[in-house]
Symmetry: C3
Subunit: 461 residues, 3 copies
């Protein structure tokens, strides 16, 4: 539970806000590389952290993300021509390169143009491309650290699929949903004859093998998710964020562990994957305070993403929503996510089709900006609580001039998430060691850890 | 004419407003029973008096109207599952009964759940069903008086038809339209060769007999409505509101009386019916300050509503609008009520089809909240003036801790409205006595009455 | 560049604003005469200068533009009946004539009606019709000067075509676009093999003769427009505004001059026409501070507008947009003006079809109200700068009780604009003399003139 002021601090990321200052110390996914498919292709509008930009790919392939306002008379450069290594304003032909330099002023004499150009520089973000995503650094470009070294960006493109989707609420509540694997036992549950069962409509994506027969191990895990709806959470901190570990009772006195990564300030690697499975991750990038882009990444460290899986992801599956050409989900707030009450009665806990859409609906339902001044947090909200603590620490760090966690440590982002079944007497650190072993990119910094037995009293979180 | 402050007092009914406090002392129609057709049917959103709720019918048939916010993390219970005598949140499965008690918290240990449940009670309105309408008491549930004893709720369901429709303006101006039978001579008039005539398109509903021939008595009344456009109003006060009597010149030195009931704080029984006719009534329930639900009731004390009449009402006739599945009128503000200027020229005073839609258009046209600081009231506005006086008196009563008129007197609502033709020398009380006689549920309290000759000077009302 | 306060002064024209006071000293085009095609035709809503009105043509053909609120109970007179020389309120039949006098109150006794009528006068604008346009004077009707004597209004209707179109931004930036012929070299340019060429899609309207062959002189002018993108501006002031002259290099040491009229406070006669061509003009009338109607006039002093040209203008050509039945452009903000990026790459500088739509898009793109506190003005913005000076002078004049420029001088509006090719050593005044000669309605008052050589330093304008 937060004060109204804390809630405001957590959720506002516009220019000049404390959390906005934090976000401007980190690289942000700005758009998909495929939104700018070719040199000199059409410019696109980009709104992020409450600020408007125009993005374009110049003749050399370099991406510019610049303020949209021509300094001459304020026309919008979105309507400009992307030509010969620059974006030319449609009104009087003033031209700007990807770094924001004014390179041509054709409606005055050459002498006047020479004097005017240096006054006509426009703001340009520092940009980079990694993992088929265009990243932007919204702070002072001179201070930009290296781009975080995500594994999904390091694998060959054949091993990767990326996308994005619109979320019509504040970024933080959507991100909190990603750190809360407890809801999997409810929000994503199926219904059979009135009782919760393995997940509805995730069947095909998660539990079907290529020849159509069902693999028993996957069904087992779904059963454990349903049978134990009160997982025990442990949060392990490290150099870029948190490893959030949730243990559920499995068979034979074993525990089923789902381990989620939170990476500062707005990334998560999801649980749900065993070592042989495709890995998944998200970034929640604020558009403004009441909407965000959720970037979605799927990758496999060792093998290509097959065409069939790629098609499934592109059409909406797991964390990937079914979206239109503007990356707006087909099932969304305006149409109540095509909620089917008959389906809810007979086959799905929510009646909404799609894991992603179920997450989206419940986050939207918390309001444009969730009110955290009235909450009853419990043990399964540990990840949410630790996330908020890290975000507030980062605000304090930036305020004091200290580099916030992970911002200058690109290598700390080379981590993994995933599931495992382990002996019942191992603690979270031991399980993580066993699960990730030498697959784990860097040693855990276990400075803050909680025993899995510790269940904080509700309300004290 | 009101001051700006009085107009604000009259029209605002949100939490904490003076008129909101008045409304919260009375039972309110909240939704139609058929919107929750079966036990465990889908929950529906309800917004009334500026407050959001979720309504559901539990397994036992009991209706719950509860705040929509799950106290755990603020997800909206509209997306919940209505199952086994409770509404279960889609996020983590917390479950609430129709009284707002939290009856299950499955994502923590049973011991923690036990401690948490009592903190997790949510607000629930006291509810009742009468006349195929779900009523709610928005005040402290312990204080709820009996539900008002409307005749339409007392007759067998075969004798009754109920509906509702959206009005896109403040409740009070729409209600005032219902208390002003003078406008019938204009707003609802037909046009024939450039002159006002009997009502356009009400013909079928009001003046056609079952075999298709027209009954002369009904045509006569329409003629009187048109011929005398300046009816004389008398307001008789009683224990739940006002009987508003409007006299028009009829034939042979008789008067044609239309008598409307206003019942505190937002009900009206309409004039227009002779003893053998179906009776009609409305309630205007604020959704917020710029829209309201108008509940519509048709009933006959002595006989069933025939299928043919029932179909006509369901499709839009008289006070019933033609509405879509969400009870939004087909002809509405956004499409200018499908106003047909040719029709207006040749056949209808307004060019808008439907009595209800004509009323709706003119009320909307007064603005989202009518400005009553500039008015030129005249004698036919007497009902409007008396209505405002009663509403302000109720505000004062509630402020002083006094029960407002009718709030604890369910029996006072067993009254009737209707038309009659009477000798020209009878006054309103004598005519009401003659018209309602032993059909009148309780004696009139005639403490405040005005002679029908008294025509207050314009502007002094 | 303006201060924030100056920008507010320039752009706000609602009641009580300084610029609103200026506009209320001049006649304004309010609607097209054909929007009220017949006596007693349907009334129409008119919103201008932030104020709502209802316009109607009475039985005698006289146009009334009255406040929409019935003084009785505030119903909107738009829903009224236009009958027998007056507009009758749909609620209780109160009736008003075109001058705002209440002429009937039928719902009270004749005696009361007599007393009430004189209190029930509603505001009515003084109106006039000229050039198939209904003009309104928004100030005190008694002070109304004669309607400005535009040539387009003086020619026979066979020689004229008028229209209007919605612009979804503040009036002043759209008007400034009309005073800036420099943008013609960019915004309206065509593209051929990557280079700017003669204008895309203006070809048909501007450069095709009746038999389909292209006239070389017109192609020449298009070439000059493209080849010289830095025209030299001179502003000549006169009794109703400014003659703005822009010189471009032509062939054989001649100059190609485009001369635009700005007429206080919101009219422009466009350049682009040689003496044999159809003349064109615009008025920008604020609807509110973020939208305006642009009235469009085409006329020929000496010959009829042929059917073929008339059809072309009606369908959208040159300054005439392709509009729907409500005068809303088909290509507009909501659909990004159907911007075609392929077209932009291969054939059109903007990718937007239509001169009018290109102007519209770029003005919209400056924002709902352009921010003039950040600009880099240069020599081609001289017209914009002089326009702002005149507008601020008018604000000052009105503040001091002085009649603003042109407001009482109807004859000063009988001026012309147009193009010419002249010897390179003539200055703007000499060229204007040569171009307009005895066609020029009144002598130029050349009190303020700038030499065409003077190129003010950027930023000092």
């Amino acid at each position: 539970m937060l004060t109204a002021e804390q809630n405001q601090t957590l959720t506002r990321t516009g220019p000049g806000t404390p959390m906005g200052d934090v976000f401007r110390r980190y690289w942000m996914p700005a758009l998909l590389s495929r939104e700018l498919p070719r040199p000199d292709c059409p410019p696109v509008r980009v709104k992020l952290l409450g600020e408007d930009f125009v993005a374009f790919r110049d003749s050399s392939g370099r991406v510019g993300i610049v303020e949209p306002r021509c300094p001459h008379r304020g026309a919008n450069l979105f309507f400009g021509r992307n030509e010969a290594c620059g974006l030319r304003c449609a009104y009087h032909g003033w031209k700007f390169d990807a770094a924001g330099q004014c390179v041509d002023i054709p409606n005055v004499t050459p002498e006047v143009a020479q004097r005017l150009k240096h006054k006509a520089t426009i703001r340009a973000l520092k940009t980079a491309e990694a993992g088929e995503v265009v990243w932007a650094f919204f702070g002072e470009a001179g201070d930009a650290p290296p781009v975080p070294d995500f594994e999904y960006a390091a694998v060959p493109s054949s091993h990767r699929f990326v996308g994005k989707k619109l979320q019509q609420c504040n970024w933080a509540q959507a991100c909190e949903g990603g750190l809360d694997t407890a809801h999997f036992s409810y929000l994503h549950a199926g219904i059979n004859e009135g009782r919760k069962v393995g997940l509805h409509q995730v069947g095909r994506a998660l539990s079907e093998s290529d020849d159509g027969t069902v693999e028993p191990p996957r069904l087992k895990r779904l059963r454990w998710l349903i049978e134990d709806g009160a997982p025990r959470f442990t949060a392990l901190s490290h150099a870029a964020g948190l490893l959030l570990c949730a243990a559920r009772t499995a068979d034979d006195e074993q525990l089923y562990w789902r381990m989620t990564q939170f990476l500062m300030p707005n990334h998560s690697l999801t649980p749900g994957n065993f070592p042989e499975d495709t890995a998944l991750a998200n970034t929640w990038v604020p558009i403004d305070d009441t909407s965000c882009w959720i970037f979605c990444y799927a990758w496999h460290p060792d093998r290509p993403i097959e065409d069939r899986e790629r098609e499934r992801l592109a059409g909406g599956s797991g964390i990937f929503a079914e979206v239109d050409d503007d990356f707006v989900p087909i099932r969304r707030r305006e149409n109540d996510y095509l909620l089917d009450r008959d389906l809810q009665r007979t086959a799905s806990f929510t009646g909404i089709s799609g894991i992603s859409e179920q997450d989206q609906a419940i986050a939207d339902s918390q309001g444009p900006i969730a009110d955290r001044t009235q909450e009853l947090l419990c043990q399964t909200d540990l990840g949410v609580v630790r996330f908020r603590e890290l975000m507030f620490r980062a605000v304090e760090d930036v305020r004091r001039g200290v580099t916030p966690l992970g911002a200058h440590d690109a290598g700390a982002y080379r981590v993994r998430s995933g599931d495992t079944v382990a002996a019942g007497d191992l603690d979270a650190e031991e399980v993580a060691q066993e699960r990730f072993g030498d697959h784990w990119g860097r040693p855990l910094d276990a400075a803050i850890s909680m025993s899995k037995e510790a269940t904080p009293a509700p309300g004290t979180l």
